[in-house]
Symmetry: C2
Subunit: 134 residues, 2 copies
């Protein structure tokens, strides 16, 4: 489960960079190649330049809402892994998939997608209890 | 680019199964292990049983809307790959990431997430991107 712990730590670092509007940390978390991102409501972004440009805009105009994540579940296969979680940003809840690749011993983000959820996390927890698969 | 062609073919088969409400084809496309899915508005689904149950419900109540996909782009790394595309379902547009793993020589779906896009594909270049929080 060491891989799970490692990837969950990087996932937490991603949300810390987001919550503190730390663009330097955010750009370090993302891999150099084969990256893509779909922010809520946005079209598909492909390539490190497009993805980091989007983060520069988002982190340059931080909202006043708290940003939290909950119910993180890791699924790891070799040097590829994902973390599935719920994001809570003020009153809004998003379901997110965060994909990482281990490059030179370090997990780097290669894809992020988040979209609005119709349920609150509390109600979601009652209905779908995340489970570990590996 | 042969890998790209192969994964794009399986991505097309996924949308064909969806559009024709073919549950048998859909269940064959999904891998047996380490699968997850986030339908628009839904919480995170983890595990083949939860994912196929959701598809049984969706395909068992097909809408009258046409289902199409556009602008598919493949990113492949060894035996892992994703296809990013736009889904058009009636008047609604979704941005989707479809993740596949090559198992015994065959690409199988391991993750799908789709979420609503604020722009239509055609108008995407003309209008400013929505500034959403993440």
């Amino acid at each position: 489960m060491a891989d799970d712990d490692d990837i969950l730590r990087v996932n937490a670092a991603y949300y810390r960079a987001f919550a503190t509007a730390d663009f330097t940390a955010m750009s370090r978390i993302w891999a150099k190649e084969q990256v893509s991102c779909i922010h809520p409501g946005w079209p598909v972004l492909i390539g490190r330049d497009a993805v980091l440009d989007s983060w520069k805009g988002i982190l340059g105009n931080p909202g006043s809402e708290e940003i939290e994540f909950h119910e993180a579940t890791a699924i790891v296969d070799g040097d590829e892994g994902r973390v599935l979680c719920l994001e809570v940003i003020g009153p809004a809840v998003f379901a997110a998939s965060n994909w990482f690749r281990r490059i030179d011993g370090q997990w780097r983000m290669i894809h992020h997608q988040a979209g609005p959820v119709a349920l609150t996390p509390d109600r979601g927890e009652d209905e779908e209890r995340p489970q570990r698969l590996n």
